[in-house]
C-alpha cells in the first residue's frame, strides 16, 4: 500500500516537474554540434622497429656503432630433458578359487621389492633432478575387507625424504570396487636410476606392501575372484639436470628463419659492413659434441666458408670448476664468400643452415658420467660490431596502422596525418586511408626534408567511414648519396588525429 502510494505520488511529482519544464512534450530529438580534436594513433619506427628488436646496443657517435654480443640460438636436446611417461601396474589376485577365506587384521598379502624400469629411454641415466613432474596413482580393491597399500620409492627423494604412497581402502561390498586416485608432485625431486643394486640404469628401486591394516579390527573375507590393482603413472617429467651416458645422439641442424619480409621491404639495397662478426658455438654440456655445417643460404644463394663441411669437435665442459670450463668454436663471418653482409644488404627473405650435430662422437669415454644441466645447453652466440655508416638505394618500407571503428554520429571532419623524422636523409612517404566500408581512399604523397618540422596531411573522413574503421597503409622511400653516418637512434613518427564536428543527438 505504501509503495503504491509512493509510486502514485512520484508520478504526480515528476509529471509536474516535466510539465513545468517543458510546457509540452518532446517534439523532436535534441541536437547540438560539438567540435572535437582527438589524437588517435602515435606510431614511431626506429632502427629496432625496422630491423627487429634484438639488434642489441647502439653506442652514440657519428656514425653510431651497433653492437651485439649474446646468444642467438640454443641446441635443442629434448631427448635429454623430457622423459616419456612410464606406467607401472601391479595386480594382486588370490591363487585359489572359491572362498571366502578369513584374513585377520595385520596380515601381509604381498611384500615385494621391485625395480621399476623406465621405458622408451635410449640413454643410460644414472641420476637426475626433476624440474617438474608427478606420479598419478590409482588403487582399486575388490576385497571385502580393509586393504592397506604402502608403496615406497627410496630412489625418489624430495629434500632428502623418500617418496611414499600409503593408502587404506575400506571394504568393497556387493561385488563393487573401492577406488582411490591422486597425484604426488615430483617437482625438484631427485631420482636415483641405479635400481636396488646401485649399478643399473634407467630403473628405480621400489617396495610394494599390501595387507590388512593392523589397527582396524576387521576380518576380511577373501574370495578367489577378488583383486587389488595398483597403477602408478610417472608423467610430465622434465629434467633440471641429468647424469649418465647420453649415447651418440644425432641431431639435424636443418634450420631456417625469416629475415626481411618482402611485403614490408619490397625493394631496395642496404650497404653496411661490420668490423667484427664472429659466430661461436659453446659447449657447456658434460659430453663431447661434434658438428658439421654443410651449407648456409641466404634467399637460396649459397654462402661458402672455409670451415664448412669439416667436422668440428667440442670437448665436454669441465663441471668441476665454477663456472664450468666450456669449450667453444668460433666462425669468422667476414670470411664468407661471397661476403655475407653484402648478401644481407640485398634484404634476403630468409636464411637456411644445414648440418648435423652429434653427441659423444667418441663413445662412452667417461664410463657413464655425461652431465647436462638443462638450463645450460650448447648454444650459438654472435659477436657483431657494425658501424652505422650505411648506404641505401631504393629502399621501400611498408607500414600499416589501424584506425579502430568508432561511432561518431554526424561526424564530418578530417583525419590528420602528421609525420616527423630525425634521420639525416630525406624521406618520401605516400599512403591512403582505406575505410573498411568504402575501400581505398585518395592517395597522398609528401617529402620529409632533413631537419624539417612535421609534415601535416589532412584526409576528409565522415561518420560512415569511421563507423567500421580502416587502415592507413604507407610506404616510406629512402635513398642516400653513398654511405651516410647514422646515429642509430633516428626515428620516423606518424601521428593520427581526428578533427571535425560531431552532432550529438538525444532522442
Amino acid at each position: 500500500m505504501n509503495d503504491h502510494f509512493g509510486t502514485w505520488m512520484t508520478r504526480w511529482m515528476l509529471g509536474g516537474l516535466v510539465l513545468l519544464g517543458l510546457s509540452g512534450c518532446r517534439l523532436e530529438p535534441t541536437r547540438w554540434n560539438a567540435d572535437i580534436a582527438l589524437p588517435l594513433v602515435d606510431a614511431t619506427w626506429g632502427w629496432s622497429e625496422f630491423l627487429g628488436d634484438t639488434l642489441g646496443e647502439v653506442t652514440s657517435g657519428s656514425p653510431g656503432v651497433l653492437r651485439f654480443q649474446g646468444k642467438v640460438a640454443e641446441v635443442p636436446l629434448a631427448e635429454l630433458t623430457l622423459l616419456p611417461d612410464t606406467l607401472v601396474e601391479n595386480v594382486l589376485s588370490p591363487a585359489f578359487a572359491g572362498g571366502p577365506f578369513e584374513v585377520p587384521p595385520g596380515a601381509v598379502l604381498l611384500d615385494e621389492q621391485q625395480d621399476i624400469v623406465f621405458q622408451g629411454i635410449e640413454q643410460e641415466f644414472s641420476r637426475m633432478t626433476l624440474e617438474e613432474g608427478k606420479i598419478a596413482y590409482r588403487v582399486r580393491s575388490k576385497t571385502n575387507g580393509y586393504v592397506q597399500l604402502r608403496y615406497d620409492f627410496p630412489s625418489v627423494t624430495i629434500g632428502g625424504v623418500p617418496v611414499v604412497l600409503d593408502v587404506v581402502l575400506p571394504p568393497s561390498t556387493d561385488g563393487g570396487s573401492q577406488i582411490e586416485e591422486g597425484e604426488i608432485d615430483l617437482a625438484s625431486a631427485t631420482i636415483d636410476f641405479t635400481g636396488a643394486s646401485g649399478t643399473e640404469v634407467n630403473r628405480i628401486n621400489s617396495n610394494l606392501r599390501i595387507g590388512t591394516p593392523a589397527d582396524i579390527p576387521y576380518t576380511a573375507l577373501v574370495y578367489g575372484t577378488d583383486s587389488i590393482d595398483v597403477q602408478m603413472l610417472f608423467t610430465g617429467l622434465t629434467v633440471a639436470d641429468v647424469e649418465g651416458y647420453f649415447g651418440q645422439i644425432d641431431i639435424d641442424l636443418n634450420e631456417s628463419a625469416d629475415l626481411f619480409d618482402a611485403g614490408r621491404f619490397p625493394s631496395g639495397a642496404v650497404a653496411a659492413m661490420p668490423t667484427q662478426a664472429n659466430l661461436t658455438v659453446h659447449n657447456r654440456m658434460g659430453a663431447d659434441l661434434a658438428f658439421w655445417i654443410e651449407s648456409l643460404e641466404l634467399a637460396g644463394e649459397a654462402i661458402d666458408h672455409p670451415a664448412m663441411g669439416m667436422e668440428q669437435v667440442l670437448a665436454r665442459a669441465d663441471w668441476s670448476t665454477d663456472p664450468p670450463a666450456a669449450d667453444a668454436w668460433e666462425l669468422d663471418l667476414l670470411a664468407c664468400t661471397p661476403n655475407l653482409f653484402e648478401a644481407l644488404g640485398a634484404l634476403p627473405a630468409d636464411v637456411a643452415v644445414n648440418g648435423t650435430l652429434q653427441l659423444n662422437p667418441l663413445g662412452d669415454v667417461t664410463a657413464g658420467h655425461d652431465y647436462l644441466r638443462a638450463s645450460d645447453p650448447p648454444y650459438v652466440s654472435l659477436d657483431l660490431e657494425l658501424p652505422l655508416s650505411v648506404g641505401v638505394s631504393g629502399l621501400v618500407i611498408r607500414e600499416e596502422v589501424t584506425v579502430e571503428a568508432r561511432s561518431m554520429p554526424g561526424f564530418v571532419g578530417e583525419l590528420v596525418v602528421r609525420l616527423t623524422h630525425d634521420f639525416p636523409v630525406e624521406w618520401t612517404v605516400n599512403g591512403r586511408f582505406d575505410a573498411l566500408a568504402f575501400g581505398p581512399g585518395p592517395e597522398f604523397s609528401a617529402t620529409m626534408p632533413v631537419g624539417s618540422e612535421s609534415i601535416e596531411l589532412r584526409l576528409p573522413v565522415d561518420a560512415e567511414r569511421l563507423a567500421k574503421g580502416g587502415t592507413l597503409p604507407i610506404e616510406l622511400h629512402l635513398d642516400t648519396d653513398g654511405a651516410v653516418p647514422f646515429s642509430g637512434f633516428e626515428t620516423v613518427r606518424m601521428q593520427l588525429a581526428l578533427e571535425g564536428q560531431i552532432q550529438a543527438v538525444i532522442e
Binding site: 515528476l14 602515435d42 589501424t402
Partner: protein, 387 residues
C-alpha cells in the same frame, strides 16, 4: 456562519498588511492549499532548457552565451522544484496552542557543473586545445518526498513546531569528485581522468524531520525558520563508480588497458566503471534555514527581508520585498531575489481576500519568465480560508 467567514477573511487580510488589531482576538480554524513550481539557473536560459527538453537544435550562439556566463565563476547551476501542500490548523486550545496538520509532496533537483564539463559536452574539446578542462566539481541531486506533519503553533501562526513523517519515494545523488580533460594544442597528446560516483535508489525510504519557526516582535519582527531538518532511511539502490585515467599521444597498439586492440574487445568498457547494488543508508533531507525580518509602516505599507541557506542551493538566497495593501481585500508586493541557483531578479505578488477565502500569487521574475533569454521561471499560489 457567513459572519465567521467575513471575520476570518478580514483578520487574514489585516494580518498580511500588518494591521492586525487587538480587537481581533478570535482565531478560527483554517485550511490552506499551496502549489509551487520553479526552475532557476545562473547560466542556463529558458530557451536552452526548453530546446534541451522539448527537442530541436541547440544553437552555438546560445551555448557560447551560456559558457560566457560561466567564465567568471567557472561553474553554473540549475535548480528545479515543484510541490504542493494541504494544511489545516485548529482553533486555539486551552494552553493557547493551535494544532496543525500538513500533507505535502515536493520534488527537488539541484545540479552544478563546471565550465569545462559544460563546454566539453556542448562545444567539444576543439575550442580549448592546450587548456585543461576541469570536469569537477560537478554534482546532481534529486529527491522526491511526501510528508505528513503534525505540530503545534501559536494563535497567529507565526511560531510553530511541526514534526513530519517523510516518505522519500525516489532519489539520486551523483558527483564527479575529480576530473580533467586535456588535449594538446597540436592534437598530439591527450590526458583524461575522472573519479565519479552516482547513487540512486528505487525503494521508498522513511524518515523524520522538523519544521520550526519562531518569531520575535509584531510590528517590527524577525523570525528564525528551519524547514525539512531531518533524515530519511532510504531503500536499496544501485551505485555506479567510475575511476579511470588515460594519458596518451595516441592509443598504443597492444598491451593492457587503453589500446587499439583493447578498446575493440568485448567488455572493455566494463573496466571503466563499477556497477553494484547498495543496501539501505541515511540521506539528509535538503534542510533550509531562514532568517526573516519584517516591519509595518502606516497606510498599509510593509517590508520584509529574508536570507535562506541550504536546500541544496549553491549560494544563500536574499529575498527583499515591499508590500502594500490598498484595501482590506487586495494586497500587492514587489521585491527582488538574489542568490540561490539564480542571479538577481524581480519578484511580484498579488493577494486577494474574499468571503470565500484568500488567494495569494507570487511570480518569480515575471519579465524573465516570458523570455527565452530569461534564467528561470517560478510561481506559487496559496489559497486559504477559515473554517
Amino acid at each position: 456562519m457567513k459572519a465567521l467567514w467575513i471575520i476570518g477573511a478580514w483578520c487574514l487580510a489585516t494580518a498580511a498588511s500588518g494591521q492586525q488589531g487587538e480587537e481581533c482576538s478570535f482565531h478560527p480554524a483554517g485550511v490552506s492549499y499551496a502549489v509551487e513550481g520553479m526552475h532557476r539557473s545562473d547560466v542556463l536560459t529558458n530557451g536552452f532548457l526548453r530546446t534541451f527538453l522539448v527537442g530541436g537544435l541547440l544553437e552555438p550562439a546560445e551555448i557560447e552565451g551560456i559558457r560566457h556566463r560561466m567564465e567568471g565563476p567557472g561553474e553554473g547551476h540549475l535548480g528545479m522544484s515543484a510541490g504542493h501542500a494541504l494544511s489545516w490548523h485548529g482553533v486555539v486550545g486551552p494552553a493557547g496552542r493551535v494544532p496543525r496538520v500538513e500533507l505535502a509532496s515536493r520534488g527537488l533537483m539541484s545540479a552544478g557543473v563546471t565550465e569545462g564539463l559544460f563546454s566539453l559536452v556542448f562545444q567539444g574539446n576543439a575550442p580549448d586545445l592546450g587548456q585543461t578542462l576541469d570536469l569537477a566539481p560537478a554534482r546532481v541531486q534529486w529527491l522526491q518526498w511526501n510528508r505528513l506533519a503534525f505540530g503545534l503553533g501559536n494563535a497567529e501562526g507565526t511560531s510553530f513546531v511541526d514534526v513530519g513523517l517523510y516518505q522519500a519515494a525516489w532519489g539520486a545523488d551523483g558527483a564527479i569528485a575529480s576530473g580533467a580533460f586535456y588535449v594538446s594544442e597540436g592534437v598530439d597528446a591527450l590526458a583524461v581522468g575522472m573519479e565519479a560516483e552516482l547513487d540512486f535508489w528505487e525503494r521508498a525510504g522513511w524518515g523524520l524531520g522538523l519544521d520550526v519557526r519562531h518569531q520575535w516582535g509584531e510590528e517590527r519582527w524577525w523570525a528564525l525558520e528551519v524547514k525539512d531538518f531531518g533524515v530519511v532511511r532510504y531503500g536499496e539502490g544501485e551505485r555506479v563508480v567510475a575511476d579511470t585515467g588515460l594519458v596518451t599521444t595516441g592509443l598504443p597498439w597492444s598491451g593492457p588497458g587503453w589500446t587499439v586492440e583493447g578498446v575493440q574487445e568485448e567488455g572493455f568498457g566494463e573496466d571503466l566503471f563499477v556497477r553494484k547494488r547498495v543496501g539501505e543508508g541515511w540521506q539528509l533531507l535538503p534542510a533550509r534555514a531562514v532568517v526573516r525580518a519584517g516591519t509595518s509602516w502606516s497606510d498599509g505599507w510593509g517590508g520584509e527581508a529574508a536570507v535562506t541557506w541550504g536546500g541544496w542551493m549553491p549560494r544563500p538566497r536574499l529575498d527583499v520585498r515591499v508590500q502594500w495593501s490598498p484595501s482590506t481585500e487586495w494586497g500587492v508586493e514587489l521585491g527582488a531575489i538574489a542568490g540561490g541557483w539564480g542571479l538577481v531578479r524581480p519578484v511580484v505578488g498579488l493577494a486577494h481576500g474574499t468571503t470565500s477565502g484568500r488567494w495569494a500569487v507570487v511570480w518569480d521574475d515575471p519579465v524573465g519568465s516570458m523570455s527565452a533569454n530569461g534564467l528561470g521561471r517560478g510561481a506559487s499560489v496559496v489559497w486559504s480560508r477559515n473554517l
